[in-house]
Amino acid sequence: MQNMSSLIKLNYQVSTCSQLYKSFVRYYIRGKPPGIAKTLSQRLAMENREDPELSTRIDIGFPAPRPSRSTELKQRLEHLKKHRNDSNLEKLARNNTLNIDLDEVKKDWLATAGPLHIRKIAERYDIYGLFGKYAYFTPRLALDIKFKQSDDTYFPVYYGNRLKPSDAVNPPTVNFNHEFNVHGLDSKGKSFFTLVLTNPDGHFTQENKEYIHWMVGNIRDGDLLKGDTVVPFLQPFPAQGTGYQRYIFIMYKHDKELNFEEEKVKESNNLEMRTFSTYDFYRKYQDEMTPAGLSFFQADWDDSLTDFYHNVLNMKEPVYDYDYPEAILKKEKAFPLRQPFNLYLDRYNDPKEVNKRFLEEELAKTHPFDGPEPPFRFPNAQYLAANIPSWRKTEIRKARQKLGRINEIKKI
């Protein structure tokens, strides 16, 4: 191995046809040679390795229902045997005209592998980040949430689907199995449910807080009208430029009625009152309630929100822009050797000052009433005085060809 690395350290001369042009290529390998050095994937895995003791999350939800595996298996095998002997089904499959019923697939999926799959998607969207770093739950209770559009149509909420805020103006209908009970666990008496809708992504002032959009507590018999509206429904209002924000429905199950006086929001349109933290909320009620159901959607900005901000929230509509990381520069030198002085200085000057200079040059060529000068038909063929310094010539050429900074000045 050491021989290989020393071989690669040789300088070798590369000479072209003419002896006048002898060029030297020094090739020094940095670090370990290929084959021995780690690949990028290996290196990334090494850097991102997490200590399992520190990163495992605790299940705060309900366990999986455990039906008798033997009876289930027997039933399933019988069913499959019947299918295999069904000549009609075979014909459909052979002709590729078999269309399985997607609604039935959905129903069976939610009863079997669905909760685990939804948990995986929730992990991708970092839903469990609401509960801090150490908790998660598998949504065993299926939630059927729909925003009504008209008599026939509705906008459903699944696990991450994209909606517009104008679709979710009114509170949705929520259907779920209120007799939900995990096999083997006693539900002493009646069970109550609490639904909370939060947005962890849109808080205007505090980084780690959410806005609570809806909370209905102590729901009985699966009817939301029978529950207490602790926080009245407020439609989603993702600000322009912030992208897609998550709106998360969590259904908690508890045995006795809980008093949500502290969570009550009296002024519906006051955003500061709607500041919420699922972590603190769950921490307070963790002995009484367990998260059972999960459903979430994503929403981004819509035209209708301008009026919402002005009329309902009584504030100026915020418009955001993605803040790209700044370019990182070396420490500025007093005497930079072999650097074009104008480009070097512009790097360290205030970008606004530099753009102002470009803008002033543009405006100097623009008549206040007649408008800008007509563009040259052949910009590179225009006269350029001989006594102008080279750096200035480059600037003029770039300006004529509409290259570089000129294209950015109008945006500031």
């Binding site: 990028l40 850097e47 399933r76 069913h79 299918h83 295999r84 069904d86 459909l92 499959a93 052979r94 590729n96 078999l98 399985i100 019923d101 997607l102 697939v105 069976d108 999926w109 079997t112 592998a113 799959h117 995986k120 998607i121 991708r124 969207y125 970092d126 699944y158 696990y159 991450g160 689907n161 994209r162 962890p200 992504d201 849109g202 808080h203 205007f204 980084e207 322009q240 430029g241 912030t242 992208g243 897609y244 924000q245 998550r246 959607f297 994503q298 900005w301 822009d321 993605y322 803040d323 790209y324 990381p325 700044e326 370019a327 990182i328 512009d346 790097r347 000057n349 530099v354 570089g404």
Partner: protein, 180 residues
Amino acid sequence: MTLPRKWPVNPGILRKLKKSISPSEGEKYLVNRNPCNLEFMSIASKPEGYKLDKPGRKFWNKITLVQSGKHVTAQMIHFEKGPVIEVSTKEWAIKKQLYKTSDTSAYYNLARVFAQRCLESGFCEMACNMKPKEGGKVDLFLKTIIDGGIFLREPSTIHPVIMNRYVGQKQKPYELKKIN
């Protein structure tokens, strides 16, 4: 804002890194913690640097088929997080209604279910590095995915325009009308 720091870094450089990602003083900012947001806005960067390798590394989400003698599994894989959505003929919900779990009909129906689940999870675009034979099962699978509403091409990242220290934008991501 935190930096993932696992190796010893020159404190001067660390200071500059922190400064480059923190918002300027006095500026109002909003933190969107949705991990998928930057990808949906086409701002997130894709895994770069594999230009000299076999193509197929540059994606945010890609669709894969795991085919075995008995079953077939469709996966949507994220380049960092691994499989996010997995639909398989091994699932009882699908197996229950099929005649055979590995014939053309199975591929077709799997595609219908997969497309539905992807859309329900908010994923409408993903990369596809499969180049199947015309008229085959995988070809039918991909065509059905497209019919189901999934677009098999991801938009390219919108890189910022960096001129000296000024970091600008050629196009606002939320004003994107077409996918590149």
